[in-house]
Amino acid sequence: MANVLHIVVCAGMAPDPLQTLEPTTGPNGPGIKNEMVLPAVLDPWAASALYEAASLAAKNPGSKVWLVSLGPKAKLQQVMMTVAQKVGFELVPVDGPIGGFPDAHATAAALADAIEAIPGLDRARLLVFGGWESATRGAGVTLQLVGERLGIVDQFQGVDQITLREDGSFEVLERVEGGKHQVSVCAGAPAVLGWATGNLPEPRNNPQVGMANMRTIMPALQKAKSVALEANGLKYVAVNLPRQQRETRVEKNLSAEEIAREIVEWIEKDNR
């Protein structure tokens, strides 16, 4: 018999990585120039978690997926137009700031509060999903802190697969060094799973899914609770964007070995 799950996916937004991102320092510390006007996407790691959650819910009838996301309402709304056609979920928006490097403790507190306030959420069926990493300013601890605040002790990171068993327990594959997976068995919900890439492709856009989602997304956005994230005295001395390089030229007569050697030299330039 299938397990009925309540899956809460914590997903942040990231500036569309295809845009030109420019670091800047504002009154609140380092940030990205004009972030509010850059198109945003659902953080790709968290998006993997969302697709896995939807797939798991589909295999276990009666299950439900919530998407908890913190950001300015207008940005959330924009991102929902690209996400909501993919899988079914109920949005739990938290109207908060975007930009800069918010304190992970403050973010986790806001997310945990939002999760605890979800009506009808059954802790005995609760799986909290999120991204193991973030495409932008990932503190690497936010999801764990959410779990701690919710009192969930079973936590897994770098998850690529979850397999539910009939008795409610589940097997988890976590990424470890050497390209291998660590296999764990958990007695059951509640648990926190920080997803790596998972195994699912990005779902196709389904207009009917989009229409169904929008019936709850728009009212939820209108009622979104506002939060202010406290800096808690946190200060960033400096931040850097990943170095980007691109060099192109046409070569018709180089051998594969010569091309490979040049590429290795090019990569190693950064390490010298």
Partner: protein, 622 residues
């Protein structure tokens, strides 16, 4: 083939809505803004109750092919009269990259290289201008002492359409009345059953199939495109949109109308050096370089950003229309380069412009559908303005729809004609289009004659103009000369292309005397780098190819292969069999291939079909 595969009858999901829109650009923005502003004032108005979901507000959906509403392709200078009518309190500072126009200048650019193809008349003119080198020629440019009144955009705005679309879209969705879905190409209209084949009617839209291979054959994750049935279908998918094209095929154009005049606009968005002297709101119009037929522009946005680009028209008969290379030479002209040198490429994009204006206007309305924006022939060819006109046609349709909703009248051809078409005919958009109707005719008799014709039409409000026979776009492409000087250049270019693997048309420009581009990795970059650094071009997997070659033998036999030269994204290259090969992942959906084909199967249309597809530009700064 894709179009054939999409007609395969499969079980498709169907959804009923009240109003469905194809394409989200300025025209649809104007339409939806008019609708939502009225609804916001009185949400309880029974006129806004849905017919398909009683008790709910109108169900209004808009589908856009681009993966984001901000992934537009154009920076513009506009009088913004229609836009300001919709937003009377518009503060340009609210819209990123928007600036009020502060200065407008027009320059005739001399050719400091000596490679452009100038007629004897023009060379004589250049000679006389050159005599006054220090008096009236500076930086190889002659500034017109006055800007023709028809070119003026006083009180207008410099805009990034990408940012403007995003700004409009966020306001629309915040209203809660409309849903705009990006990343969702529409394959075509749904036609109601019509045994007699006499009705001009549309019953909704069909979305593109997903989970198909490049030929449109169902593959892993196949999801047939949904049928979205609507009482009103609003067609605002631009000049090369799939829906508009299918409507033109089915209904034809009004008597005497034809779509034969086109241009490709391509531009860079450049971050200027810190010590730049260019002020936001500066607008320059140029002509004369890199070829006489190529018009150019430079618009300065806030925060040291500038849009610089060119328009290459279909009446430039030369088959070597290598736009990207021309753009690189354009920005290096001394007049521009003194400001752009040391800048960095921020964005890049291209789009086809439908330049037939009134000549190409389709049927504006039928039972259950209406056409707005550039695809409806609203662009003013004299003023070089399209965004404000497109916006206004959308707003006019919005007012018409409100009138019909409040009167409880259906969206029939007659009702839409009496409301939308009537408003449009009585407006400044129509007056401008009439004035501009024949303004560019002269260019079919040469560049100088074209300038005279444009001036004549502009200064007489369109009452006087030059007559011209405008051939179909395929016939406007001259054939490569096989002998003489032209033939020699072609053979020289072919040898160069074989030697270093570059595209033939690029090599042809070198053979014609254009210097090689001194790539600097920041602003002067290869076309492939521009795709990634500037346009951020990508395509979702699971969609079919959207550029189709109807008769490959024609392509193989074609010597000109202008589609390859003109392809903005180098998505078309020469295939092993001698026909163009298409890579949809590199396509920016400019649609240039559609009208840059010298091989017409019927003398009028192209041998290339441009259908619904996914992907394209992702830069939000265009």
């Amino acid at each position: 083939m894709n179009s054939a595969a999409q007609t395969v009858e499969v079980d498709r999901q169907t959804m009923d809505v009240d109003i469905v829109c194809a394409g989200f650009g300025p025209a649809t923005g104007g339409f939806l803004t008019t609708l939502t502003q009225a609804w916001s004032q009185n949400p309880a108005d029974p006129a806004f109750e849905s017919k398909v979901a009683p008790g709910m507000p109108l169900q209004v959906l808009c589908y856009e092919r681009a993966d984001d509403l901000a992934a537009g392709v154009s920076g513009v200078v506009t009088r913004a009269e229609g836009i300001r009518t919709s937003f009377p309190a518009l503060d340009p500072a609210e819209v990123p990259m928007a600036a009020p126009i502060r200065q407008e200048r027009v320059f005739y650019l001399l050719d400091p290289i000596g490679a452009s193809r100038r007629s004897l008349t023009l060379r004589m003119g250049d000679f006389f201008l050159g005599l006054g080198k220090t008096l009236w020629v500076k930086d190889s440019a002659f500034e017109l002492p006055w800007t023709p009144v028809f070119l003026h955009k006083h009180g207008g705005l410099v805009l990034s359409i990408g940012q403007f679309n995003q700004w409009v879209g966020s306001q629309l969705m915040a209203s809660g009345l409309v849903q705009i879905w990006p990343g969702t190409p529409v394959s075509g209209p749904i036609f109601p059953e019509d045994p007699g084949g006499t009705k001009r009617a549309v019953a909704g839209l069909r979305l593109a199939d997903q989970g198909v291979d490049k030929h449109g054959i169902p593959a892993e994750g196949y999801m047939p495109g949904m049928n979205v049935r609507a009482q009103l279908t609003v067609v605002g998918d631009g000049p090369v949109g799939a829906v508009g094209q299918r409507l033109d095929e089915r209904f034809g154009l009004p008597a005497g109308h034809a779509r034969r005049e086109w241009a490709l606009g391509m531009k860079f968005v450049i971050e200027l050096p810190e010590d730049t002297a260019l002020e936001a709101g500066t607008v320059w119009h140029t002509f004369g370089f890199p070829e006489p037929e190529i018009f150019g522009f430079l618009y300065v946005h806030p925060e040291r950003l500038v849009s610089a680009g060119i328009f290459v028209p279909s009446w430039m008969g030369d088959p070597g229309r290598t736009v990207y290379r021309y753009l690189q030479h354009y920005i290096q002209h001394p007049l521009l380069w003194q400001h752009l040198k040391g800048g960095a490429l921020r964005s890049w994009g291209a789009k086809s412009l439908e330049e037939s204006g009134k000549h190409g206007e389709p049927f504006l309305a039928g039972d259950g559908f209406a056409r707005i924006g550039e695809g409806s022939g609203s662009t003013n060819l004299l003023t070089g303005s399209g965004v404000d006109e497109a916006w206004t046609t959308g707003a006019q349709l919005g007012e018409a729809v409100l009138e019909l909703l409040r009167a409880g009248k259906p969206f029939t051809q007659q009702n839409l004609s009496e409301t939308y078409e009537k408003r449009r005919r009585a407006s400044w958009v129509e007056r401008g289009a009439r004035e501009a109707e024949n303004a560019r005719n002269g260019f079919y008799g040469g560049f100088v004659r074209g300038l005279l014709g444009m001036g004549l039409a502009g200064l007489t409000g369109g009452r006087l103009s030059l007559a011209a026979h405008i051939p179909p776009a395929p016939k406007q492409i001259r054939r490569f000369g096989a002998y003489g000087k032209a033939g020699l250049k072609l053979r020289e270019a072919a040898a160069l292309a074989v030697a270093d693997g570059r595209p033939l048309h690029d090599a042809l420009m070198t053979a014609r005397g254009w210097p090689e581009i001194p790539f600097d990795g920041r602003l002067l970059v290869t076309q492939q780098d521009a795709l990634l650094m500037g346009g951020k071009v990508q395509a979702m997997p699971g969609f079919a190819d959207h550029v189709l070659f109807l008769d490959r033998n024609r392509c193989i036999q074609c010597r000109e292969k202008t589609c390859i030269a003109m392809c903005s994204g180098q998505a078309l290259t020469l295939g092993d069999d001698g026909a163009p090969a298409f890579e949809r992942e590199k396509c920016v959906h400019c649609g240039a291939c559609l009208w840059n084909c010298a091989q017409s199967p019927d003398g009028e249309r192209s041998n290339i079909e441009f259908v619904a597809g996914s992907g394209g530009l992702h830069s939000a700064e265009n």
